[in-house]
């Protein structure tokens, strides 16, 4: 694998509008239940000062994807650019990947009895476009980035946030810019 694409989410910019969620649903005409991308609210008491902040998460295209390891039908493949693709044509709906992913990102589509997840809009990326969620994010809180050492060495780049599973399990390809204490964006 020559590189690893992933997401960078900036909680300081995110207003929790869920535009990314809707853009994803719209792009793929996803049925009601599966949520390939989802916006979460951080627990206020996880920080020293009260704060109302959000983060947005889809499949993290992990460096060590548990979904890919456990799937018996090889429905998952990891591309040269690090994108983990799920092929619904191969899926037999055993649901093992839904048990193995700590982020609950592969989700069963009850109508099709198969699993679905974010494929990082690889077809858009192959045409030089950005993923639908990134394009839809009005404050620019969600970016497509290359995960590498130089990104990780930048000040303020976090590998995890409070309330997330340990990144040691699958090495997710997502980085965060956490909320700055004291500043608040309320959305009640």
């Amino acid at each position: 694998m020559s590189k690893q694409l992933g997401f960078l989410h900036n909680s300081e910019k995110c207003v929790g509008c869920r535009g990314c969620e809707i853009a994803c649903k719209n792009e793929y005409q996803i049925e009601a239940t599966p949520q390939w991308r989802k916006v979460f609210q951080l627990h206020e008491d996880d920080f020293s000062l009260p704060t109302r902040m959000f983060f947005s998460m889809a499949c993290n295209h992990c460096a060590h994807p548990e979904c890919l390891r456990v799937c018996p039908v090889k429905a998952y493949t990891k591309r040269e650019d690090g994108i983990v693709i799920h092929d619904p044509n191969r899926c037999i709906g055993c649901r093992l990947c839904t048990m193995a992913c700590p982020y609950d990102r592969p989700q069963i589509n009850p109508a099709k009895k198969k699993v679905e997840k974010c494929n990082l809009c690889y077809q858009r990326i192959d045409q030089g476009e950005k993923p639908a969620c990134v394009t839809a994010c009005i404050p620019g809180a969600l970016e497509l980035v290359e995960i590498n050492d130089s990104l990780d060495q930048k000040t303020g780049i976090l590998k995890t946030l409070p309330g997330l599973p340990s990144p040691k399990i699958t090495s997710p390809s997502i980085r965060f810019i956490g909320p700055k204490q004291g500043k608040q964006i309320r959305r009640d």
Partner: protein, 300 residues
């Protein structure tokens, strides 16, 4: 928390009973004194159970018609390996079935009409080694299948499963129910020493299962998710029914049976088997129901 996974409960428990029976037959055959009627009965019952188990497993899939594809990822998926080993076990069982068909009941050796040995005359005049080898290979493949089944659940995401617990518990079910079901199938066809041995295996597995469960339970509190699994068990009435019917009652009854001069009445052994069977089904249901994975705890 998980769901009532009936197809998986049936697949794992019935598959383990089937392989447990074959394993016990193999054990009994090692001294060349396996009763041929028992061999036949055991092979037929285990085959039936294996078939039901394999069919039940299909109901877990969203697309059972494409189940054959599950063999595609032997390199890293324990589910693929499980399917492979169970299919191989079934093929090996077909060989046992053929041996059992070749066998006529005229091979009576020993002191009584019901005591038939496998020596030379067994398996339709084939050497005993064929039968023993068949049982051995089927058992070994079956045990590999069971270990692979257990390894499916060894997931870093689920702390309660991410240890040796699933493999040990699955193998204990195999030994315990295998021995008890062989006792039930054997009845008077078993020699006293064989009966005693099977009862001792059952008692040993029950004691080991109880001790292991206590150690395992105390280890679960090390993580938040493990503690949630433990709490689920302790607060569920199903767990206490399971403790009663598959640990306490069998312990008591097996000791009574072992102490009685005639090694217990048939009905008593059948009662223990049914109680343990129910307990193992409840235990397996709780295994799935209590599964708590590491997950995003932020609000949504």
């Amino acid at each position: 928390m998980g769901d009532w996974e009936w197809p998986l409960i049936l697949f794992t428990v019935l598959g383990q009973i089937a392989i447990g029976i074959i394993l016990m037959l193999w054990w009994l055959a090692r001294n060349r004194n396996l009763n041929i009627q028992l061999f036949k009965r055991g092979v037929h019952v285990s085959g039936g159970l294996l078939l039901i188990a394999l069919l039940a497993s299909l109901f877990h899939l969203g697309h059972p018609e494409a189940a054959y594809r599950a063999l595609a990822h032997l390199g890293s998926s324990w589910l693929s390996r499980e399917i492979l080993f169970f299919l191989l076990t079934f093929l090996a069982w077909i060989y046992l079935f053929r041996l059992s068909r070749q066998q006529t009941s005229s091979h009576t050796l020993g002191s009584g009409a019901s005591i038939i040995t496998t020596a030379e005359t067994a398996a339709g005049g084939q050497p005993t080694s064929n039968l023993s080898l068949g049982l051995g290979i089927t058992s070994l493949l079956g045990l590999l299948g069971i270990a692979s089944s257990a390894m499916i659940y060894v997931l870093p995401r689920v702390p309660a499963w991410n240890n040796g617990g699933p493999v040990l518990f699955f193998l204990l079910t195999t030994g315990l129910l295998g021995a008890l079901c062989t006792l039930v199938l054997g009845g008077n066809l078993l020699q006293t020493a064989q009966k005693k041995l099977l009862l001792q295996v059952s008692l040993g597995c029950t004691i080991f299962s109880l001790i292991l469960s206590v150690i395992y339970g105390s280890m679960l509190s090390a993580s938040m998710e493990g503690a949630a699994s433990l709490n689920y068990h302790l607060s569920s009435p199903l767990f206490w029914v399971r403790a009663l019917v598959s640990w306490l009652a069998p312990l008591l009854l097996l000791v009574i049976i072992l102490k009685s001069p005639d090694l217990g009445k048939k009905n008593l052994i059948l009662t223990v088997t049914l109680l343990v069977g129910l307990g193992e089904i409840l235990g397996r249901a709780l295994f799935y129901l209590s599964a708590t994975g590491i997950q995003i705890t932020a609000l949504f």
